[in-house]
């Protein structure tokens, strides 16, 4: 697996993890800080979008196209 594919898969995994964290914050199931935190949830979603942008720049198909 080349570096580009590793970054792509890592970014996708990070995006999924951030969406889960956002869900926990929105419903008040996150351990720090405890309680419902909509602002934290929104930030986690924004970061998940950022991770998807990183994944987009490292799509394996893009790498193939460059070669």
């Amino acid at each position: 697996m080349d570096q580009r594919t590793t970054i792509f898969l890592g970014a996708i995994a990070a995006a999924v993890l951030l969406v889960i964290i956002a869900g926990f914050y929105w419903t008040g199931h996150m351990f720090y800080p405890t309680g419902v935190h909509h602002k934290h949830a929104v930030l986690a979603i924004v970061l998940a979008i950022g991770a998807l942008v990183v994944a987009n720049f490292n799509r394996p198909s893009s790498a193939i196209a460059r070669r």
Binding site: K39, V42, L43, L47
Partner: protein, 326 residues
């Protein structure tokens, strides 16, 4: 027997239980007057962009003027949000050409899935990289730090520390310029950005570190723009480039924080202060626009020294007055 004000509020049911509890306690706080709101708005607009700490000044000045305002009260937060919104709008308006030049290639790159090679696009991604740690640390640390250190004495001490940071920032720049010149094997050359190193030459790690350092500004007395300008100087930027990068980096953080709190402004807590909040937003915006305009001109030739001296004097005098009053 309950406090009469608390009784009246309970009848109208206009304010939350936390404020009722505050009104019932012997330590209840005064309502913000229009004049106080105007002064705080102008103070916020100026101090947010000058490297002299807006949080420090909004903690110290009311204390010095004898205003009995609880800035951590639920009803005060919407007002603060409006002031930040005004400041962020002023920054966007001042740097609108820069933002268009930055965002256009970024959007194009995202849509095509290929990174471009223009300096503006690289600056955009550097700003994005710097904003991530600032946003995470801001959301997680802002309230605990402000709550723990939101005292006028602490703010005055850190204002003095801020002065030392600005003073040594100039030394760091001289070292960085000398190191860059030595690496090139020639005298320090001047780039298009007016300094030995253009903004787009910044590394990803440096951008993340500079962005993360903004979290220091949650300590009342430490300036966000001061920290980022000093970090930019240490990275080898000219004063103008460091200030430009600092203001561009601050814009998404301030705007994002304000936008996230807009529901608070429009909620039941915000309604009693909505008039003051709107006027405060405009005043803070005008003060911030005037400040950024002045600072960008000042930093074409000016240095951080005068701000360091101001922080030392203001911090020391504030500390003496606050300690004398007990």
């Amino acid at each position: 027997m309950s406090h009469p004000v608390a009784g009246a509020l309970a009848i109208h049911g206009a304010l939350p239980h936390a404020l009722l509890a505050a009104a019932q306690s012997p330590h209840h706080y005064d309502k913000l007057t229009h004049a106080q709101a105007a002064v705080l708005a102008i103070l916020q607009g100026v101090a947010e962009l000058f490297p002299i700490s807006s949080i420090g000044h909004t903690v110290i000045v009311p204390k010095l003027l004898g205003w009995n305002i609880d800035q951590s009260a639920a009803t005060f937060l919407p007002f603060v949000v409006a002031l930040h919104l005004g400041t962020a709008i002023a920054l966007v308006v001042y740097f609108w050409r820069d933002w268009i030049e930055i965002l256009t290639p970024m959007i194009r790159s995202v849509s095509t899935g290929k990174l471009g090679s223009t300096p503006q696009e690289r600056i955009g991604w550097l700003l994005a990289a710097g904003t991530v740690p600032a946003a995470i640390l801001g959301v997680l640390l802002e309230k605990p730090v402000k709550h723990a250190l939101g005292d006028a004495r602490v703010a005055a001490v850190f204002l003095i520390v801020n002065g030392f940071m600005l003073f040594f920032g100039e030394r760091l720049r001289l070292r960085a310029v000398a190191a860059l010149a030595a690496a090139r094997g020639d005298a320090a050359t001047v780039s298009l950005n007016g300094g030995p190193r253009p903004i787009e030459a910044l590394g990803w790690t440096e951008a993340v570190v500079i962005g993360g350092l903004q979290a220091l500004a949650f300590i009342p007395g430490i300036s966000r723009s001061g920290v980022t300008i000093v970090a930019g100087l240490a990275a080898g930027f000219s004063h103008e480039a460091a200030a430009r990068f600092a203001f561009l980096l601050a814009t998404p953080v301030i705007l994002g924080a304000a936008v996230l709190e807009i529901p608070t402004l429009l909620g039941s807590d915000g309604r009693p202060l909505l008039g003051d909040a709107v006027v405060g937003c405009v005043l803070a915006g005008l003060a911030a626009y005037t400040s950024v305009r002045f600072l960008m001109r000042y930093f074409t030739t000016g240095k951080l020294g005068p701000f360091a001296v101001y922080c030392w004097i203001a911090g020391t005098l504030s500390l003496i007055v606050v300690l004398a009053r007990g």
